[in-house]
């Protein structure tokens, strides 16, 4: 936990430093008053001070006892939990790419089936019904009833 917080705060410090550099490329003031870089510059500066203070504060926190359980120290998921999280993230990324080419309906059909299987469902007929309802059914509901445009892909499906 402590190590994770240090890394996260370090990343935020880097983000603030980057924002400071970028804001300096914009004008801080002009003849009308504060320019586009003014507010982000001061924010980034405050962010740098805060992240440094937080880094020091976390650094001074007591280190976890050697007999602390792995669960207390571990940040990232592991075992089945990690696989389930990876399945969600991976399938979400895949469906985002796929929607551009094959459209919402086909991409969601595969996504729904793959996700419920990855999360432990094995009854094929329930998976099939859910996948169809969650893709073609949802598409019909949103485009026809709710006037929400959804991607149709390169084949117009």
């Amino acid at each position: 936990m402590r190590q994770g917080r240090l890394v996260a705060t370090g990343a935020m410090l880097a983000f603030c430093l980057f924002a400071l550099w970028q804001s300096l490329l914009l004008s801080l003031t002009d003849r009308l008053g504060p320019g586009p870089g003014f507010f982000p510059f001061w924010l980034a500066l405050i962010g740098i001070v805060l992240s440094l203070a937080l880094l020091v504060s976390i650094w001074r926190e007591p280190r976890p006892a050697t007999d602390a359980s792995i669960e207390e120290v571990r940040i990232l998921p592991h075992g089945w939990g990690a696989l389930r999280c990876l399945a969600i993230v991976g399938l979400l990324a895949a469906v985002t790419i796929a929607m551009e080419f094959v459209g919402f309906r086909l991409a969601m059909l595969v996504f729904n089936a793959a996700l419920v299987i990855a999360l432990g469902e094995r009854r094929w007929w329930i998976i099939a019904v859910f996948a169809v309802l969650g893709s073609f059914g949802v598409y019909y509901l949103f485009t026809t009833w709710l006037d929400v445009l959804l991607p149709t892909g390169q084949f117009g499906i």
């Binding site: 008053g33 586009p36 924010l43 993230v89 996700l115 432990g120 949103f142």
Partner: protein, 499 residues
Amino acid sequence: MEALGHLLQGFAAALTPGYLLYAFVGCMLGTLIGVLPGLGPAAGTAILIPLTFSLDATGAIIMLCAIYYGAMYGGTITSVLINVPGEAASVVTCIDGHQMAKQGRAGSALGIAAIGSFVGGTLATVALVAVAMPLASLALKFGPAEFFALMVAGLCLVVGLAGNNMMAALLMTVIGLLFAMIGVDPVRGAPRFTFGVEELYDGIGFVPVVMGLFGVAELLLAAEKRQTHMVEAELKSWMPTRQECRQSVGAIGRGTVVGFVLGLIPGVGAIVPTFMAYVLEKRVSKTPERFGKGAIEGVASAETANNAYANASMVPLLALGIPSSPTIAVLMGAFIVNGITPGPFLFKEQPALVWTVIASFFVGNALLLILNLPLVGLWAKLLKIPFSYMCAGVLIFCVIGAYGLKQSLFDVWVMLGFGILGYLLRKLDFPIAPAILALILGPMMERSLRTTLEISGGSFAIFLDRPVALALLAIPVIVIGFLLFKPRSLAPLRESDIE
């Protein structure tokens, strides 16, 4: 009197079949979201935003508000039946509510919770009617300096009261504000931090961000725990006895006052009023030893305070344009998506909309009472939905919500990125609420500050010449100073404190 006239006109609109239907659907969906453990009101409201894309602004806001207070009530059902709070504010309800369920009095607990929620919500809305307009009229006299100070005060109160780690909460606020800087400069129109990416010219979309931080992150956290589904609970009747009603009258009254007063303060969070009302009830009770063993006053006070808080937290949003919690920030985002800027001008420029929405609060509270008493058994059955289907269903809504607003797949990537970020930040105990509020208030804060400095010729001394702005800026200094150097005994309230 003027407010009453507006309110009556609001009722005339809110009671039309279309808006009644939106309130009804919102209450149903909100309760459903509240019932499902892991999906709180903020996540629920965020993922259901796409349902309102095709509605007119008033209808969309009515439905989203109904989802919000529906979700606040829905969490009660799981708290009572299976000792799992559907959302954080229902944690206190578990204490006596589940004990009552174990004694075969689940119906009484749920019944009194529905009645208390109705009374608390309705009375808080009455108070909202009385308070909101004068507060908005006062705020109309504010200049950009006062607005900037007000937003700083609101953000700092949220930082001070919502985060367990003050420094981390402040840093998260700054990070949220920096993300809000992406896009076209609101004053001069110059692009900032866009790196030539066309999609970033409009800034980072609020809807994909909240869907990621709340929806996707919640699912990742649940997936990691290998959550399957909950057990079914038995439910015999849904009405409290006459004696139980008599016992609860005082608790409902006190819960309403506590919930309303705390709802006016940005950053308090829903769990604090429920806890305070519960503690107050235990203090005034002649038989405090019954608390924790199934005292109906415990359920009545917490649930009443919860809904009174939910309705009262609309006051700072509608009158001042300050969201007091992440869920209210999501609602504010929905207002903005629909072309409405909450704040004092709303009462002046769009009175029909704002009073229709306020009238719909009364209608929604009544609908919740009518719906929830007989449908408790049905809601309880929802707990049997396996996690795999719930996860896939929520993700479908997240994808549609992120994509649907601008028809941009880039926003789906933004949602995914913020989902992973939200998951990691939650695991590392970084508070997300301040970043969300900062993201939505960022552009307004910048505009106010820069206009103020343009008026003063770049001098910050203008804040010293404006007593209201100075007083408002003193609030965060005092709050943060107090919290940084507070005694250990006054540590912020956490869920674990109640357990």
